[in-house]
Symmetry: C3
Subunit: 212 residues, 3 copies
């Protein structure tokens, strides 16, 4: 069996951390759009579970993360309620900047776990990396689509999906070289997160279609 | 077998009524957006069958309602054509208000049937209620997303998904107490519909993120 | 077996041509919206593979076209890079007009192949034709939704989905009459493409909801 139990444990830790990070980013975006309490919970949930659910539908993989671990749905509701209360009480403005750190962690964690899961399902390398990128990016795409914006990943001209893409290839290479899977998982996630933070700090730009 | 044949009959009646109610609401929204004839049929179909189809994809349940009962696709086309002709002839304006009654019935009916179907698939309670809410709300979400608006369920600050959520819990409690399923189904749907109408009549508001 | 090997070959040729045509149309739309390089590739891929993937999820059909033929993902990346370089170098503006020819071919090819695939999965006629129409139209719907526009197929008042619908019925009739499937496939695709070009040339209009 290619999915050893230590890998399964590592995947659960990584998915949980990524889910929490994305839930936070969805919550902040929903707050910025002044959605109501239901909208905040829905958008947080869609951002947190959307990418992984699309991946699992594409891979025909059941049960979903949030069905197998239904406790996380309760946790999500509690976190949403708490964060709303805290932010309202403290008058902290929900800014775009506040989203970036949780979003970067979610990106890296899901890129690595999505690629690993697709590899375990015997997908070709390019498909596995794409699945990792989709897992990482689609939560955010769904969040932006329901908030009626062009998904940031498509037009903010900063590397985002590209970081996930790079992290995914690390997982594939580690798989091909026969490294223990948890190691490849950590290496891929770390690279993606570091690349994303570097691109934010140094303001790297993607080549764009002629702007003029 | 937990799905007795009387339950199966009750589910078909409920799904049919909910489908018809949502088709009407999609039709009116499409008319308000001045879509063409194809757009009206597509948006009516997406609103009517979208929530149930998303639920069935998530539960990996086949065949879909509209595949098993393909006659309803024909019925939908005929209803769309008739309603367009009538409304054009009578110069009835398609208003937001006209959408609310069919939408409320669709909401309650799908919330109850979605929860029951997920319970029959042995889902945990919170997942079953969530499936009911998704079934009830996602037709409208897809309708608003393709019409390029922020889904009303997320930001109109009136209880909508919350009514479906409450109705879903009634179905779960009836299931736990061992009531005959059609009874739980009717009780859950009724509660959701009544709550929705009350919230419209008395103009209840959800707590929102700080508006200021 | 209803899917003879010559039919399987014909389907691969048709799907490949349709994928390429839709990728081009997505690419041009992404360029018009001034998305970045990642956005261009993603939107081109979503337009190219989106309709077929939605169809395969609805029919519970695996592996997807782009998993079974992973080479096409590489081809898509290369084509996107080349087209971006050429258009930037030549200062060709990406216009809506430039999208129409590839889009019309993709429409016809996917309508025919989607209908044939659904017939092979023993779907009722109306469902098969609908699947063909969804395959043909949904790539464009997803493209327009992520680009934050009302899908053109719903409100440009020119026959689009209707052409796919007509082409799908040709495939169904050919199937019922017992024609060799590749012949029905070619006849259906040709009718849809020809209807679409005629509607563009003669500026046919769909009946609309009362404009006044």
């Amino acid at each position: 069996m290619s999915t050893s139990s230590s890998l399964a444990d590592a995947l659960i830790v990584v998915e949980t951390a990524g889910t929490f990070a994305f839930a936070l980013s969805g919550l902040i975006e929903a707050a910025r759009k002044r959605l109501d309490a239901v909208g905040v919970c829905f958008v947080a949930g869609l951002t947190a579970f959307g990418g992984g659910t699309v991946r699992d539908v594409l891979l025909d993989r059941r049960p979903f993360f949030w069905v197998a671990h239904a406790g996380w749905l309760w946790a999500l509701l509690v976190v949403c309620a708490l964060v709303m209360l805290v932010l309202r009480a403290r008058h902290l403005p929900p800014t775009e900047r506040a989203m970036q750190a949780p979003d970067a962690f979610g990106l890296g964690l899901f890129a690595a776990s999505g690629t690993q899961i697709a590899l375990d399902a015997s997908m070709p390398s390019i498909v596995a990396v794409l699945m990792g990128t989709v897992t990482a990016a689609f939560g955010g795409v769904l969040r932006d689509v329901v908030c009626n914006e062009i998904p940031r990943v498509f037009n903010d001209h900063r590397p985002y999906a590209v970081c996930a893409f790079a992290g995914g290839w690390v997982v594939v290479v580690a798989h091909v070289l026969g490294w223990p899977p948890p190691l490849g998982l950590v290496a891929g996630a770390t690279l993606a997160v570091v690349l994303r933070f570097l691109s934010l700090i140094f303001d790297w730009k993607l080549p764009a279609w002629r702007q003029q």
